[in-house]
């Protein structure tokens, strides 16, 4: 075949281009140039960033709708990507009578201790509120799987107020400094 070599080389270039796009794409996901990685999860659909609410006996998941947090505390594992310093967790929730809803991150691997923060309301959609809390990932305990244990706390449930909280969406925004040529040179210089 006359052009066999050219055809083979063209295909080889194609395979290499696909492979390079895949590897560079994954690298860019881990180190986004603007320094922000936004992910969304839903209670019934655990993802690589949100492992689902537990323990199961305190949570009822209505598929494709929301999770009802019937008791407290409720835990969930959240990914802590290594190159990010800050994580802002936003819950879209319907509060049916809890005066206080807090979000916390595990502060130490040696003890079951959480850094609790009240959910700050940043928006609403009819009765559903969007509440968020920011955490310094460096101050939280990241386990060997690269996850941080988080907690949703409704302290008044312990005092007999059993009004449930429904959660329909979890947004996590990870932040780091934007990647610029200067920051890359600076990072290399620090390692030399």
């Amino acid at each position: 075949m006359k052009h066999a070599k050219h055809i083979r080389n063209a295909f080889l270039a194609g395979w290499i281009l696909i492979a390079a796009t895949l590897v560079i794409g994954i690298a860019l996901k881990n180190l986004p140039p603007d320094g922000q990685l936004a992910t969304t999860a839903f209670p019934g659909e655990p993802s690589a960033f949100f492992a689902g609410f537990r323990p199961e006996q305190r949570v009822s998941v209505i598929p494709d709708a929301y999770a009802v947090l019937e008791d407290e505390p409720i835990y969930f594992a959240m990914a802590a990507p290594p190159f990010f310093h800050r994580a802002t967790v936003r819950l879209e929730y319907l509060n049916e009578g809890q005066p206080k809803v807090e979000l916390g991150g595990r502060a130490s691997l040696d003890e079951w201790r959480f850094e609790l923060k009240p959910l700050e309301t940043v928006g609403s959609d009819r009765e559903w509120l969007a509440g968020e809390a920011s955490f310094d990932l460096g101050a939280l305990a990241v386990d060997r799987r690269g996850e941080v244990q988080m907690v949703v706390s409704m302290p008044d449930m312990q005092k007999g107020n059993y009004a449930p909280v429904k959660v329909r969406r979890i947004d996590i925004l990870y932040e780091r400094e934007p990647v610029t040529p200067t920051s890359i040179i600076e990072a290399i210089r620090k390692r030399l």
């Binding site: 295909f11 492979a19 895949l22 590897v23 881990n30 655990p46 290594p82």
Partner: protein, 117 residues
Amino acid sequence: MKRLLEKIFTDAWRVGFVTLLVLLILEVLQKGFVSRFFNVNWVILFLFAVSVIILSVTSRKQEERRSGYASLQMLGVVAALIVWIGLPDDLRVFWRAVASGGILVLALLSWPLINNR
């Protein structure tokens, strides 16, 4: 034409294998670096599919093809196992079985297809 196809897909297999190695090394160096954004099973499935194609277009002796088929079967079992383990935990057992079983059936069916050529 067959010879050209064999070369093209052998190149694809090599590039796929190197890609798989790079992804595995990145994952070992930093857990979650790859697995949070991409399912490595796709590369393994790609290698499996390319192996089937290479075996079907290659024109070697019967004994060599038999040993190639044995390798393909082994690869099929490994790929099925990896897919079973690698698929998300919340996926129903039925779909897990469909995916893994599909690969095994493909590995078994590939022999008559290759042999009849």
